[in-house]
Structure formats: structure tokens, C-alpha cells
């Protein structure tokens, strides 16, 4: 066997309209290896996969398949060469049979008619080979999501995949179904297929993967053997922290955590929130004037908790009590009326209304209060807009400027103002300072601090550890859909948070 890996990507570059999405990223896949690709949001995982499978053209670098330079122009090209991606949202034909789906576009033919007998027979053999018990003649729609996903994988295998990319394959599977997936992966591995496994769940990475490649901000960070890599080191690689740095805490000398007084009744209590595997019996409480920080890697369920409290998603179990009154968690408007505000992490998709003015965006949530007999009072609107633009230092040409023309920081301030003008009691802030400039960041942090002093309760989700350590009075850590730790006072440090992100259910001593 040659030393050359099965697939090698060398110094890959990808630029989207001037923004570098991938910068000198290299990746090598060996035969029969399960290789994990990890990184936080915007690290470049999916871009790399799309370059690998021909969905994007690369702007630099080289790709070798079995030692030969390869240049895939389309995903079909890549498939023919044996590089196949199976995506999260399975795209198959719901009303056709399993066999038809597997052989779609490459049906076995006899005298230019489809050879149904052979197609079903071969499908059956293939599924058996993968250890799956699925009837080839069943329509895909009659199978559950897990089995559909297995069919998608089987389709990849039938195309002669040498490299199979699984993007978040377990995101919609139950524990038991994950076991089936592992078995399929084990068999494929034994056949010499290289598998790229993308997942945010550490338990899975350590259960099935041999090696891991870490990306951060579009750059290659490291490729390591998972057996020799401690979880905590993996988290450090993902977040770009040095382990030594973590230990010398207090470099910021901000340490002014308010002591938690367990006797004050909490402002908000969330109990037993559960939604599939994404969020499993999460309970937390926040007092008046307290900033509860929430840490967790992407996909750990941190956003799910915020959305559940706000009533944006249905939960299977759980209840939310604000100020002693239970909120009907199914209705978002009840949460708003009760005084809960939610700042989404995805400002563009879930926050701003791009073509409307600053004024319209700022007053959107407060409109009912500014309306009498269906007519919006322009005067009241202007008063509020003027007050909050001044208070938050929103920089815009005028209140009539379209919000999409503003900088990220100013957009975020407008969205914060959208809620503040409703006089909320409780703020859910999901990554309040992501992607905004340093100046605006400091201003928003100071504002949150001030709001808490005025008596609001705040749940602040952040992937920036400094922000959590300096800003929070308490920190809870989410891991794989569960709360894994609660840190108070002296316990709060970057080190302890990272430890809790990596390990399960551990109480950390300072």
C-alpha cells in the first residue's frame, strides 16, 4: 500500500466576495478511517466539505484522490469519482421505494427497460451488507427518519463511495438509532471507506472517530489522534485557547461577582425543559438583577433553552414561571406579554427586517402599545425612537435609514432597543456581541450590566469565555443537551467552564 492517503486536500483557499472562508486548510483521509471535522460556527467546516464534494469551486490549493490530482466541477463529478456527501436534511424521494431511491439515476437496465428484479435484489444485498433490515420495496416515506438516513448512506455506498461525508448524521436520531448508525459506520470502515464525520457531540466523536481535524475562523488548527487527545485539549483547540492561559485567571481583574443569595425568590424559573435529544430536562432559575451566563459549544442545546423559555419552540415537558406566574410555554406572545425578551443569535435571519427603517425595526415589538383604534401613533413612535437611539448611542443617518445599511453593532443595539422599549423583566440574550466591532461590544456589555443593576434578570448565552467570566454572576454549562455544571463566585473561570464543556456532570473545585 502506498503512503499516499486516499484523499488529500492541500492548502485549500476559498473566498466569498472578498471574505476569506477557508485559508490554507489541509486535510488528509486514510482508507478505513473515520475522520472528524470540528469547529465552532463559521469555522469553515461546511465550506470545506462543499469544496471537497464539488459544490464549490476552490480559489486555491489542490485536491488529490488516490494520489491523482482531482478537480470536481459539480457534486455529480465528485460522486462519480467516489466522494459522496450525505447531508443532514436527507434529500430523497418520499413516494418512491427504497430500491428506486438507491438506484436513482443509475437504474440497472435490460433492453433499456428498468430491471426491477435485479434492482430489488441488489438493494437487498447492499442493505444486508450494511447490517440493515429494510425492505427494498417499502416506500421511503413509510420509514422513520433514521432509516431514511441509512438509505441515504446506502445510496452513497452503492455509488461506489470511497469517501463518505456524514454531516451531523445523528442530529435527528434517538440513542438507539445512533447505535444502528455506528454499526453501519463500523462495517463501512472495515471495507476501507474513509468517512468524514461532522458532529458537535463529543461523546460521538470519541465513540466512532479515529482522528480529528479542527478548524477555526476558516483556518486549519490541527489534526490529532483522538485517542491521544484529551477532551479539554480538543475544546481548547476549537476555541483557540492555550491550556496554560486558562490557569492564570484573574488577568482581567474584573472579579466582582455578586454573591448569590439563595433566599431571594427567583424572578424566572424554568423546570425540566425537554425537546428530543437536543435539550433534556434542563432546569434553571434567575433572580432579579442577576446575570446568568450560559456556556456550551455549538449544538449543545444552549439556544434551544432560550427558545424554549421564550415559547418559540414547543417542548415535550417543562414549564416556565416568571414572577410567580406560569407562562403558557406554547405561545410566544404570552411570553412577550409577561415581559420576556429574546435577542436571537442570528441577527440577520431572525432579528432585523432589512428593508424597514430603524424606527420601524425598533418599535416593532412595542407596536400594540403605540396603537389606538388600529392607528399607530407616529408621535409616540418618534419619542421612543429618539429616546432609545440616544440612550444606546445608535449611530444612524436618521431614524428613517434602512436598518440593513447599519453596522452590525448598531443593528444589534436597535434590536436590543426593540425589546427594552417594551419594559421587559427578563432578557434572553443569545450571543449578544457576536460579530460586532469592539467598541459596540463594550457598549452592549456595559448596557447589559446596567440593566441588571436596574433589576432585570438576564440569561446571557455566549461562546466568548471572557464575556461569561467577567459578565456573569453565575454560569451554567450546557453539554450535549444537558446542564452539566453550575459555577458560582470563585469557581467561575475560563478553565472551569472549558472543563465543564468537555466533561460530563462534574463539579469543579476552584
Amino acid at each position: 500500500m502506498a503512503n499516499e492517503p486516499l484523499l488529500r486536500m492541500q492548502n485549500i483557499r476559498k473566498i466569498f466576495s472578498g471574505v476569506v472562508a477557508l485559508d490554507n486548510v489541509s486535510l488528509a483521509l486514510e482508507r478505513g478511517e473515520v475522520h472528524s471535522l470540528v469547529g465552532e460556527n463559521g469555522a469553515g467546516k461546511s465550506t470545506l466539505i462543499k469544496v471537497m464534494t464539488g459544490a464549490y469551486a476552490r480559489d486555491g490549493g489542490e485536491l488529490f484522490l488516490e494520489g491523482k490530482p482531482a478537480n470536481f466541477r459539480t457534486p455529480e463529478d465528485a460522486q462519480r469519482a467516489g466522494v459522496v456527501a450525505v447531508y443532514q436534511e436527507v434529500n430523497l424521494l418520499m413516494f418512491r421505494t427504497v430500491a428506486e431511491n438507491i438506484f436513482l439515476n443509475c437504474e440497472p437496465c435490460k433492453f433499456s427497460f428498468v430491471d426491477w428484479g435485479r434492482m430489488n435484489r441488489e438493494t437487498d444485498e447492499l442493505l444486508k451488507r450494511l447490517g440493515l433490515n429494510i425492505n427494498p420495496k417499502a416506500t421511503l416515506g413509510s420509514l422513520n427518519i433514521a432509516m431514511r438516513q441509512m438509505v441515504a448512506i446506502a445510496r452513497g455506498v452503492s455509488l461506489g463511495a470511497k469517501v463518505l461525508v456524514l454531516d451531523e448524521p445523528t442530529s435527528s436520531l434517538t440513542e438507539k438509532e445512533v447505535g444502528i448508525l455506528y454499526e453501519v459506520i463500523r462495517r463501512l470502515k472495515a471495507e476501507g471507506t474513509a468517512i468524514v464525520y461532522i458532529s458537535h457531540r463529543f461523546d460521538e466523536l470519541y465513540a466512532v472517530c479515529d482522528r480529528v481535524t479542527v478548524l477555526r475562523d476558516g483556518k486549519f488548527v490541527a489534526t490529532r489522534d483522538l485517542k491521544e487527545l484529551e477532551r479539554i485539549d480538543l475544546v481548547c483547540l476549537m476555541l483557540g485557547k492555550q491550556r496554560e492561559d486558562l490557569e492564570k485567571k484573574g488577568a482581567t481583574a474584573f472579579d466582582e461577582h455578586k454573591p448569590v443569595n439563595d433566599n431571594t425568590p427567583p424572578l424566572l424559573v424554568a423546570e425540566n425543559l425537554t425537546r428530543g435529544r437536543r435539550m433534556q430536562s434542563v432546569s434553571l432559575d434567575v433572580r432579579r438583577g442577576e446575570i446568568l451566563g450560559m456556556a456550551g459549544l455549538l449544538g449543545s442545546g444552549r439556544t434551544d433553552v432560550a427558545r424554549a423559555i421564550f415559547g418559540a419552540d414547543r417542548t415535550e415537558t417543562g414549564r416556565v414561571v416568571l414572577d410567580g406566574k406560569e407562562i403558557n410555554a406554547r405561545k410566544l406572545n404570552d411570553a412577550i406579554r409577561a415581559g420576556i425578551a429574546f435577542l436571537s443569535e442570528d441577527r440577520k435571519a431572525e432579528g432585523i427586517i432589512p428593508d424597514l427603517s430603524v424606527r420601524e425595526n425598533l418599535t416593532l415589538a412595542a407596536l400594540p402599545a403605540l396603537t389606538s383604534a388600529g392607528v399607530v401613533s407616529r408621535k409616540k413612535q418618534n419619542e421612543i425612537v429618539e429616546r432609545f437611539m440616544r440612550r444606546l448611542g445608535i449611530k444612524a443617518a436618521s431614524a428613517e435609514q434602512k436598518i440593513r445599511e447599519l453596522s452590525g453593532g448598531n443593528q444589534q443595539k436597535v434590536l436590543l432597543a426593540r425589546w427594552l422599549c417594551c419594559n421587559p423583566k427578563f432578557l434572553l440574550l443569545d450571543e449578544p456581541t457576536r460579530g460586532i466591532d469592539i467598541g459596540a461590544k463594550g457598549e452592549i456589555q456595559a448596557l447589559v450590566n446596567e440593566l441588571a443593576k436596574e433589576g432585570l434578570g438576564v440569561l446571557m448565552i455566549s461562546s466568548e469565555l471572557e464575556e461569561l467570566v467577567e459578565g456573569s454572576d453565575r454560569v451554567v454549562v450546557m453539554r450535549d443537551g444537558k446542564l452539566s455544571a453550575e459555577l458560582r463566585g470563585e469557581q467561575i473561570s475560563q478553565d472551569s467552564i472549558i472543563n465543564a464543556m468537555a466533561e460530563a456532570n462534574q463539579r469543579l473545585e476552584p
Binding site: 418559540a312 406572545n333 432589512p354 428593508d355 416593532l364 415589538a365 407596536l367 392607528v375 399607530v376
Partner: protein, 262 residues
């Protein structure tokens, strides 16, 4: 033009209403057979039915999340059928009811009643869109439905209402047309008007993706379309050429509005 204003509201939410022509036909037929009860009850019945059909569109689209183009296409086909059933297989229903015909033929201080109605509707539509909470919700839903929902905007009822308004305006248009003709012609009335209404809206500067709307623009757009047809007629040019010119204008308008990429 009334239809185009309703269409502008619908398109502002990012939707589309293909059923307007059939709604006109239903309103026309229902009113024509109810004229025995008197003009005013008949008009009310016609408008209520038209609004109900629009609301039905709205319920299916907003609550069941079916694509607007599919639902309203179904209603376009079914509605025309229903109107023809009511009118006994699409026969003309003639009537003689001066009170009702006043709607299409009457004058107030020398101005046709239908023009007054139109002017009032335009004024009201501009007011609703700019100054009422409903209008602002329409813009928010069309601009970014997810964000609007998370900000507490009642997206479902906003969309439902928009289609009801479109139905109501189509109903009014159907009645004016019927009154002018002096008969209900269920198989012809409002035929392909949905296309003219969409064209007027787009030419007037309301993008099909929603989020923005210009009532005045739609009025101008509709006028351009009417002027082209009429001037071709008057100058004795072939009608078919006017269609080509209209198409060219639509393309030009869309070209000028394409989003600027930087």
C-alpha cells in the same frame, strides 16, 4: 385597479393571489341572483362571499402553510366553476335594477361613482399601509417573517387578513363591472385579471419578494397598462401588439428593480 391594490397588499407579505378573477365572477353571480332581495342586500351578500373566499385562501395559506400560488391557483379554477354553476352553466344573468346599476353607471357631481370608489379605496389603502398597525405588520411579515414572528407579530392572522382584503377588493371590482354591464357574465368577468394586477403591482415598484409596497406605484402601474391598451385601441393598432409592449414594460420594470449587489 381595485384588484391590483388588493394584490399589492398580498404581494407585500411575500404572497400572491391568483384567485382574484374568479372571486370577481363569484361575487358577480351571487349578487346577480340575489338582486330580488333588493340592491343593498345583494351587494352585501356578494361582498361577504368574496371576502369569505379570500379569507379561506388566507386560512389555508397561513395556518396550514401551503404555498400561496398553489392555493390561489386551486381557487382560481374552482371559483370560476362555482360561479358558472351559480349562473346555470355560465349563462349571462341579465337584470334591471337601477339602484345597483348606479354603481357602474351613475355620476355624482359629474364624476362617475366608480372613480369615486376607486379614489376612496386608494386613499384608504395608503392610510392603512402607512399608518395602521396592520400595515406595519404586513411590511414586517414580508420583510422577514421569522424575525417578525420572534418579535411578537401575529404573522398568521396578518396573512389571513391580507387575503381577505384582496378578496373583498376583487368582490367590489366584480360588482362595479357587473353593474356597468347590466348583466353578470360568470365565464368572462375578471378573466386573466390576476396577471394584469400582478403586472401593475410589479411595474409599480412592489417586489414579488415582499417587504415593501407602493400603493401609488401600483396605481401608476395600472394606469400605464390601461393607457397602453386604450391608446392602441384608439389608434387602430393591433391589440396583440399592445400585449407585447406590456410584456416589455414588465421586463424593464423588473430589470430596474433587481437588487443591487455590492
Amino acid at each position: 385597479m381595485l384588484v391590483a391594490i388588493g394584490m399589492t397588499f398580498v404581494i407585500a407579505t411575500g404572497g400572491i393571489d391568483l384567485s382574484v378573477g374568479s372571486v370577481m365572477a363569484i361575487a358577480s353571480a351571487v349578487t346577480a341572483i340575489s338582486l330580488d332581495y333588493g340592491a343593498i342586500p345583494a351587494v352585501l351578500i356578494g361582498l361577504i362571499v368574496a371576502t369569505a373566499v379570500g379569507a379561506l385562501n388566507g386560512i389555508l395559506i397561513s395556518s396550514f402553510k401551503i404555498q400561496p400560488i398553489i392555493i390561489t391557483l386551486a381557487v382560481l379554477i374552482a371559483g370560476r366553476g362555482i360561479a358558472q354553476v351559480i349562473s346555470n352553466g355560465g349563462q349571462l344573468i341579465p337584470f334591471s335594477n337601477p339602484t345597483f346599476e348606479y354603481l357602474g353607471k351613475g355620476l355624482i357631481a359629474g364624476v362617475p361613482v366608480q372613480i369615486l370608489l376607486l379614489a376612496a379605496t386608494v386613499g384608504l389603502a395608503i392610510f392603512v399601509f402607512r399608518s395602521t398597525i396592520f400595515g406595519r405588520y404586513i411590511a414586517a411579515v414580508g420583510g422577514n417573517e421569522t424575525a417578525a414572528h420572534l418579535a411578537g407579530v401575529p404573522t398568521v392572522s396578518t396573512k389571513l387578513l391580507v387575503y381577505a382584503v384582496s378578496g373583498l377588493l376583487a368582490g367590489i371590482a366584480g360588482l362595479i363591472y357587473t353593474a356597468r354591464l347590466g348583466a353578470s357574465d360568470a365565464s368572462k368577468i375578471g378573466d386573466t385579471i390576476e396577471l394584469d394586477a400582478i403586472a401593475a403591482t410589479v411595474v409599480g415598484g412592489t417586489p414579488l419578494t415582499g417587504g415593501r409596497a407602493s400603493i401609488i406605484g401600483t396605481v401608476i402601474g395600472a394606469l400605464i397598462m390601461i393607457v397602453i391598451t386604450t391608446s392602441f385601441n384608439m389608434n387602430d393598432m393591433k391589440y396583440s401588439w399592445s400585449l407585447v409592449i406590456k410584456a416589455a414594460i414588465i421586463l424593464l420594470a423588473v430589470y430596474l428593480q433587481r437588487p443591487k449587489t455590492n
